[in-house]
């Protein structure tokens, strides 16, 4: 043993003695993307403490190096510093690629600088984590309502569907961590099943210009992105706890992330919330509680050149629906409308009874990307989603605890995209999407299926280019084609089949006859074409213009095609139509932006012409054994929507600022020359803010929210005979509620607990004066007032 060690020592000695210290290390430093030389990059040899810089050709050389292993560090002002192990064995030549795009670097690994917008020429607003955290206990729809031009259509106060420039449901795409949310978004009382707390930033893109996400987003795209991962050895997290008076509930959200310098990372997040019955100024809204539980895990490897990500999220929402909104027939509806208070008001309770919804949503995503030198980036992603929806109605007998709706929606999506960014001034992106979806309606409910069993296949291809003409002008073009096939198996009651006239047009799709029902197999194919052109022009240091045109097609969704039956909470019979065609939207928009140190002003105007716009409207009444019901049918018309969204901010000084957000929209049914139904009314939000860094980073804001009465609405009122009173009465389902004005106050301070830990304490008061009001786009406005005063205390611990 000794002998061997001696030999080894001798060898090492003689080798080090005999090593040649005349070697030269030379090389060139190139841009990863386009292969152009990088000038003035610094080459630093750590163990020798020598350095040099690259010349105009990007080349360098260092003389008199010993044959040995050395570590060199290559850095450049606009690049990510790179560390390399180099083995010197005689004259050595190195080719080093540096990443030269600062803005992309931000996307890759700079935490906190997540300010990058997804589009350059679209009407896009970005909400950062602070703006999202304030809404931690609420829903996605509530959070993005702070953007001018975004409103919501509600079923109560916990089922909130976002409305972008007057359009909602399947006209809006919600992307969460790269996955297009598939959660039966078609139904008006189906809120997006996503936990706001999983998002680090939210982008709202108005209109269908973000073609990479889909071609059918006539209304817009909402993109939720997780927080950025930093490439360093670190462990950090955040916990938010809040409690509030209205609903007497709490919300708890916590997350922890571990990152490694080499690029590995893993993070987990969990949240839970529970609320009891919410309250108006005068009474309790019985059975409006909410119970929500969710968690997500996110892990992977991320470097500039390659990486992968695995993500899983689980969310379970149990939502109570106002007891008083469950009614029997048109007479009950008239009673409910004429009564100023709901007909059922019980004592406060955390119980969630029927009618209620229980929705579970799971997302599993795997993603892989690789960058190729002087070429671009390839991305491959597969995701699977499972959405399980139970809706419990008030039922009798043995069926009491059975859901009335039991739907399982499974979606598989595979997508690949290729981004060519080798050239500095032009970026191309190509992509292919393929998806398969299966909806299963469980027959054990004992209630005829609201939505039938169906398979949906889709295939999409797109090409997008981003062109920078010069420092002031950006242009982009995009094209997309989508093929959609819906293959359904749907039962129709024979009398309904004949009444709709399907017996003459669709007799070939009948595959079976069971008693009084027909089993049909409708198969619909849709070819959707979308395109987008945009230009942005920086006029001067302060102001810029953007102009955009988007064409998009949307295939009718399953509820528009297949709805057929009684909808309890609305006391109406809803009928879909197999004859519906795709919608075609042509949207033009222009934006003017001005910003200097004191003033920020953003004005967005749009005009959206939609051919074959699908909407639901009253078309008569039907007599059943329960009495009369109004019938609402899906119909098509040509529509025009136009409006103006303004957001403005004025800073008096470092402490005081004024803020305004206003949105005006008009929706016209061009064919019938009347107003479109369900259009948001004019809304203006004005606030005055004060902040002082010296007082524990104190911020306070007083907000005034004014919503004017919607005076432009179609009159769909009708008269009906009420047997119990023996008179004809007017059923007023159209007249919008009056103008309302609310005041809100919020404030927060931040305490530094240690170098890396701080505690933010926030107090939030909404509807300070406990004002009674009803919102036109709340489906439950016929039955009860909206929420009264709420005081919320929020503790946010960053560590």
């Amino acid at each position: 043993m000794k002998y061997y060690i001696m030999v080894l020592c001798c060898c090492v000695f003689s080798w080090s003695q005999g090593q040649d210290c005349n070697s030269t290390l030379s090389g060139e430093v190139l841009d990863f993307h386009d292969g152009t030389p990088i000038i003035n990059a610094v080459i630093f040899i750590e163990n020798l403490n020598t350095y040099t810089t690259t010349d105009v050709n990007g080349t360098f050389s260092i003389n008199d190096l010993c044959n040995n292993q050395i570590v060199i560090e290559v850095s450049h002002l606009a690049c990510e510093t790179k560390s390399l192990d180099v083995n010197i064995d005689g004259d050595t030549f190195l080719k080093i690629n540096l990443e030269h795009h600062i803005e992309e670097l931000n996307e890759v690994n700079v935490k906190g600088a997540s300010g990058a917008k997804l589009t350059k020429t679209s009407q896009e607003t970005l909400l950062k984590s602070e703006a999202i955290e304030r809404y931690s206990s609420l829903s996605l729809g509530d959070a993005i309502k702070q953007i001018s031009g975004v409103s919501s259509i509600n079923t109560g106060n916990t089922i909130v569907k976002p409305v972008i420039n007057g359009l909602h449901s399947s006209r809006i795409i919600v992307m969460t961590n790269g996955v297009r949310l598939q959660d039966q978004e078609w139904g008006i009382e189906h809120a997006p099943n996503v936990d706001l707390n999983t998002a680090g930033s939210i982008s709202v893109i108005k209109g269908a210009n973000a073609l990479a996400y889909g071609g059918d987003a006539i209304g817009g795209v909402i993109v939720l992105k997780p927080s950025k991962i930093s490439l360093k050895d670190s462990l950090y997290g955040k916990t938010i706890i809040s409690g509030q008076t209205n609903g007497r509930g709490y919300n708890l959200n916590t997350s922890l992330t571990k990152t490694y310098k080499k690029g590995w990372y893993i993070g987990a997040q969990a949240s839970t919330k529970r609320f009891g019955d919410f309250e108006t100024p005068d009474y309790i809204l019985t059975n409006t509680g909410l119970e929500s539980k969710g968690f997500s895990i996110n892990g992977g490897f991320k470097t500039f050149e390659k990486g992968f990500n695995v993500y899983y999220s689980y969310l379970d929402n149990n939502i109570g629906i106002l007891r008083a909104s469950h009614i029997g027939n048109i007479e009950d509806l008239v009673n409910a409308i004429n009564n100023q208070q709901p007909l059922v008001i019980d004592d406060f309770s955390y119980d969630i009874n029927a009618p209620k919804q229980e929705v579970t949503h799971q997302v599993l995503k795997t993603e892989f990307y690789k960058r190729f030198k002087s070429f671009g980036q390839l991305d491959v992603q597969y995701d699977y989603q499972n959405n399980q929806r139970f809706e419990y109605d008030i039922r009798v007998g043995d069926d009491r605890d059975k859901p009335a709706v039991d739907l399982t929606l499974k979606t598989h999506t595979l997508k690949t995209s290729l981004k060519l960014d080798a050239k500095d001034n032009i970026i191309y992106k190509f992509g292919v999407n393929a998806g398969y979806q299966n909806n299963f309606a469980n027959p054990s409910t004992g209630v005829r299926r609201l939505i039938p069993d169906y398979d949906r296949y889709d295939l999409g291809v797109f090409a997008i280019s981003d062109l920078r003409i010069n420092n002031n002008i950006n242009l982009d073009f995009g094209m997309r084609y989508d093929f959609v096939q819906i293959d359904a198996k749907k039962f129709y009651i024979t009398s309904r089949w004949n009444e709709r006239g399907y017996n003459s047009d669709f007799s070939d799709i009948i595959i079976d006859e069971v008693g009084t029902q027909l089993l049909t197999n409708p198969v619909f194919n849709y070819h959707n074409l979308s395109a987008s052109v945009g230009i942005s022009y920086q006029l001067n240091e302060f102001s810029s213009f953007m102009f955009n045109y988007g064409l998009s097609n949307r295939a009718p969704n399953p509820s528009e095609l297949f709805s057929d039956g009684l909808h309890h909470s609305a006391a109406r019979i809803e009928l879909g139509d197999l004859r519906l065609e795709q919608e075609t939207s042509n949207r033009v928009s222009g934006t003017y932006n001005y910003s200097n140190k004191a003033i920020t002003l953003n004005i967005e105007a749009f005009y959206n012409h939609i051919n074959d716009y699908i909407f639901i409207e009253p078309t008569g009444t039907e007599q059943t054994i329960r009495g009369a019901f109004p019938v609402w049918s899906y119909n098509q018309t040509n529509a025009a929507l136009f409006g103006l969204d303004i957001s403005a901010n004025y800073n008096f000084n470092d402490q005081w600022n004024l803020n305004n957000k206003s949105a005006f929209i008009k929706g016209r049914d061009v064919s019938q020359n009347q107003a479109l139904i369900d259009m948001p009314s004019f809304k203006t939000v004005n606030s005055i803010g004060y902040s002082n860094k010296k007082w524990l980073d104190f911020n306070a804001e007083l907000q005034s929210e004014l919503v004017l009465r919607q005076n432009d609405y179609p009159n769909n009122n009708f008269e009906v005979f009420i047997p119990t009173t023996q008179e004809m009465v007017l059923v007023d389902v159209s007249t919008p509620p009056p103008t309302y004005h609310l005041l809100h106050l919020q404030g927060d301070v931040t305490l530094d607990l240690s170098k890396n830990t701080n505690l933010n304490i926030g107090l939030n008061m909404t509807n300070i004066f406990n004002t009674n009001y009803r919102e036109n786009l709340n489906r439950l406005r016929y039955f009860a007032d909206d929420l009264g005063r709420n005081i919320m205390l929020q503790l946010k611990l960053n560590y």
Binding site: I327, G446, V447, D512, G515, E622, I625, G627
Partner: protein, 191 residues
């Protein structure tokens, strides 16, 4: 490492495509026959002391479908007569027809029938009660007016009414609330 990566990619694609091949493709979904539907309500009015039995019937065989219920009244009512009346509720979408009365009797505290007549042609008295002593109304008596005429009789079934609200136990529907499960209007003549 590289082969591992390629392998995992191939595996992933395999999962995707096998996952896409559907398992229950060829099987047709089974039909749902609504269990809670009430298609038929029959009121049988038997005159106390003998005479012609009168039936009032409403039948809606397509449930919430487009066809309106068919209403039949077997014969005119006799003036100044007390009728013993009983109701039968059925779901005729099932074969044999399901009797709904039992469900209502089991949950009698959550149901109540209401009767109304126009032109004062008749008055009604409850004959059956739930466990709390509140009226149910599957059994009742109908007393016709002393003068001939015509009008309508309306029978309404409310689910989860507020039985202790003012007037409800006397058969006044005004403050009853709840949801309407049945509402049938029968045109009758009195002679």
């Amino acid at each position: 490492m590289k082969t591992l990566k390629q392998l995992s990619l191939i595996l992933l694609t395999a999962i995707v495509f096998t996952a896409c091949s559907n398992d229950d493709d060829a099987v047709n979904p089974e039909p749902v026959n609504e269990e809670e539907v009430i298609t038929t309500l029959t009121a049988t009015l038997t005159p106390v002391g003998g005479g012609t039995t009168v039936t009032l019937k409403t039948q809606d065989l397509d449930g919430d479908g487009p066809n309106a219920p068919v209403i039949t009244v077997s014969s005119p009512l006799t003036i100044s007569t007390v009728y013993n009346a009983s109701l039968v509720l059925e779901n005729e979408t099932e074969s044999p027809a399901e009797l709904i009365n039992e469900e209502i009797e089991t949950e009698d505290d959550e149901h109540q029938f209401f009767y109304q007549a126009t032109n004062d042609i008749a008055t009604f008295t409850y004959q059956d009660f739930d466990g709390n002593g509140n009226p149910l109304g599957l059994e009742f008596t109908l007393t016709t007016a002393a003068t001939a005429g015509s009008g309508t009789i309306t029978i309404t079934l409310r689910h989860e009414p507020v039985k202790d609200a003012s007037g409800v136990s006397d058969g006044d529907i005004t403050n009853a609330g709840g949801e309407t499960d049945i509402q049938a209007v029968f045109p009758v003549t009195l002679q």
